[in-house]
Symmetry: C2
Subunit: 110 residues, 2 copies
DNA sequence: CAGGAATATTCTTTCATTGGAATATACAAG
DNA sequence: CTTGTATATTCCAATGAAAGAATATTCCTG
């Protein structure tokens, strides 16, 4: 998880991830569109790959990078226990549970 | 966004955020429970506060830190454009759209 | 198998981050 | 207004990440 967040905490890597929403791209295109030197692009992509945020497909001497759901899903799942902090659905659920507790308490008195 | 991910890319800060799921805690307790020196705990908490991942309430000489929904919600929203990569609901929606496109094409032929 | 194209790796320098130790600040109690 | 408690701040050393330049690797083409 730390590796994932670390990968996402660099401006250029965040731009790469965002760019790849358009679809798979070779390293050269990524470098060009983001005004990066080719070695920097390669290095950033490798960091993203280790974090499972991108995956790569070899096409001849090209490397086609695309988004990898695994890393992004990991972020989603990490967020899960915190979702109740802002998600209205959990507030409703909490109320339902509170009501059940009240009813349970009521049962005991009877 | 980068500040948020950077804040979450440190092991001890991640442990602090996780610990605060139990509820608000003063700095001393956080430091003790995570075996951190008090200054380190303070420093990490300040980083988390700048990223709006925690908020603080002063109670006498104590500082009560709690989770701040803002930073976590920011992560949730950043994730939004990527959700279709793994969320089955988007797959269904994509199918519905594909069907609509097919029907539209059909209309043109008639 | 020589040449060229696309990408990866290595090396170096620079800059930011982390932890530890010491110290400073804020506040409550007496 | 002094003391004790809780937290923040500063300084320093060590570690790690990022960019740039140069070079190496891989693979297609002829």
């Amino acid at each position: 998880m730390i590796e994932t967040f670390a990968a996402l905490s660099d401006p250029n890597r965040l731009r790469i991830v965002s760019l790849l929403r358009e679809g798979p791209q070779p390293v050269g295109t990524i470098a060009e569109r983001l005004s990066l030197n080719q070695p920097q692009a390669s290095k950033h992509l490798i960091v993203l790959k280790k974090a499972r945020l991108v995956e790569v497909e070899a096409r001849a001497q090209q490397r086609l990078y695309r988004l990898d759901p695994a890393g992004l899903m990991a972020v989603h799942e990490w967020l899960e226990p915190y979702r109740r902090l802002w998600d209205a659905r959990f507030t409703q659920m909490d109320e339902v549970i509170a009501q059940m507790v009240r009813e349970e308490t009521q049962d005991r008195k009877e």
